[in-house]
Amino acid sequence: MDNSCLIKIDNVSKVFKRKGMFRNEPEVKALDNVSLTVKKGEVLGIIGESGSGKTTLGKLILGLLKPGSGNISFADIDNSSSQNGKPIVQVIFQDPYDSLSHMMTVEQLVAEPCIIQNRKNFDRNRIVLALESVGLTPVESFLHKYPHTLSGGQRQRVAIARAMITEPDMIIADEPISMLDASIGVDILNLMLDMKERTGITFMFITHDIAAAAYISDNIAVMKEGKIVEYGSREQIISDCCHEYTKSLLLSASTGTFNNTSFDDK
């Protein structure tokens, strides 16, 4: 495998069968022969509408689902924190309400990946550092809070802190800002960009919002109905895309721009 590749997805398909009581429901093809490589240190944006299979792709990489056909190969990585030479992949979910257990304090939540991985001996300072790095300061005032007392943006920061604490090689962010206010979402995107600059971590950013993807990504893949319809660098996608669907996405993102067109003369 190429040295610069972190993950290589090869002709992966995934079909969901729905079992009915008397007859089988029609199959849903979530992914249809998808091939994609994730390069080391890049931010790869995956854009698609709901039902396009973008979340399924993330789940396959995370190992939460098994591919129906095709395979996903990981690069060998020299990383002390990884046991089997496979890169560590972490995740930030869309819904910061559902992804943080409401029975745990912020400290327990952030410490969890460490506790799972090396049971007892981990440095408590790492929790403090992780929370500081996501801007939850003063740290002491947050450590013993429960997630339901935090705002949506703060919860998403906790989610980022706990994803970062094991120093993963890659983070899959599945619609991390779609449930947040626009201005708070920008802060989360900036935080992710800072993380990438500081640690060189690879991001896979799954979203339905082309503006957000264009803001953060180096390369962008556009998905529709389980297929990748267009892949290219940010510049390529924004300035000369070929696929109709990408064009319609760009149009919907730009008609809101007030200084070029007003609504009526669209």
Binding site: L62, V91, D95, D98, S99, L100, E112
Partner: protein, 274 residues
């Protein structure tokens, strides 16, 4: 539910009154030998005495002290409630979590089994079994647990199914957590509210069933029971023609009602009702 919330909720008027009644019953049950000098089975005096300083609630038709029967009856009721509810809780939770977490065909088979248990009408089966097995307290407890756990398992399983696909469980798995860790840290803690409801509901059911069976004469004659007291009182032909019902029949009925009420109040308080 966090510890703080539990304490807060129990501090509501309902919670406090429920706990007060429950605690006084527990105190009575524990301290029974010190509160009365008679054993509940002893024929201690002449039958059908009216309340006096020696027999606070008089004696029944064979001369047993009603007051001491009442005190020791609390022991029986509370013990049955405790054993049945914890039995149902343990078996129901284990089965529910196991079935819901494993999923697939095993889950399907187990749930059909539970469905069969749920289809059998409770009371007739208890009556038949209680009649066939020797009437002993342990048989009653056994039957109540056997008939009770499928309810617990069903609710626990449904909640486990929801939790199994929730974001925080997914995150723990991605971080490399095993099944045991996920169950211990992410599923069981989320089941606490359900567990509390199970304990409360099953205690109520156990108390009422035990008294009911005892009233029907299927109880254990070797343990004093409020149900048995009511049975004897009612079957005594003259109980309603004299004042005897006031100290013979009524106290046992009031005790059953109060004990059940205390559980209901505690349960409602824990659900956040003020």
């Amino acid at each position: 539910m966090h510890e703080i919330t539990v304490v807060q909720r129990l501090k509501s008027p309902k919670g406090i009154s429920g706990l007060a009644i429950l605690c006084s019953f527990i105190f009575i049950a524990i301290a029974a030998p010190f509160l009365t000098s008679y054993s509940p089975d002893d024929i201690s005096s002449r039958p059908l005495l009216e309340p006096n300083s020696e027999h606070l609630l008089g004696t029944d038709d064979v001369g047993r002290d009603i007051f001491s029967n009442l005190l020791y009856g609390a022991r029986t009721s509370l013990a049955v409630a405790l054993i049945v509810s914890s039995g149902v809780l343990i078996i129901g939770t284990l089965a529910g979590v196991f079935s819901g977490y494993t999923g697939g065909n095993l889950d399907r088979v187990m749930m059909r089994g539970v469905d069969i248990f749920l289809m059998i009408p409770d009371l007739p089966l208890i009556l038949i079994l209680a009649a066939y097995l020797r009437p002993s307290l342990w048989n009653i407890i056994f039957i109540l647990i056997v008939m009770g756990w499928p309810v617990g398992a069903r609710i626990t399983r449904a909640q486990t199914r929801t939790l199994r696909v929730s974001g925080h469980v997914d995150f723990a798995r991605i971080s490399g957590a095993g099944n045991w860790y996920v169950i211990k840290r992410h599923i069981v803690p989320d089941l606490y509210p359900i567990m509390i409801t199970t304990i409360v509901m099953q205690s109520i059911r156990a108390i009422l069933s035990e008294s009911g069976l005892a009233f029907l004469g299927l109880g254990d004659p070797s343990y004093p029971s409020w149900g048995t007291m009511i049975k004897y009182a009612i079957s005594y032909p003259l109980v309603f023609f004299t004042d005897a019902w006031m100290w013979w029949l009524m106290p046992a009925g009031v005790c059953i009602t109060l004990l059940v009420l205390s559980f209901v109040l505690v349960g409602q308080a824990l659900e956040g009702d003020k």
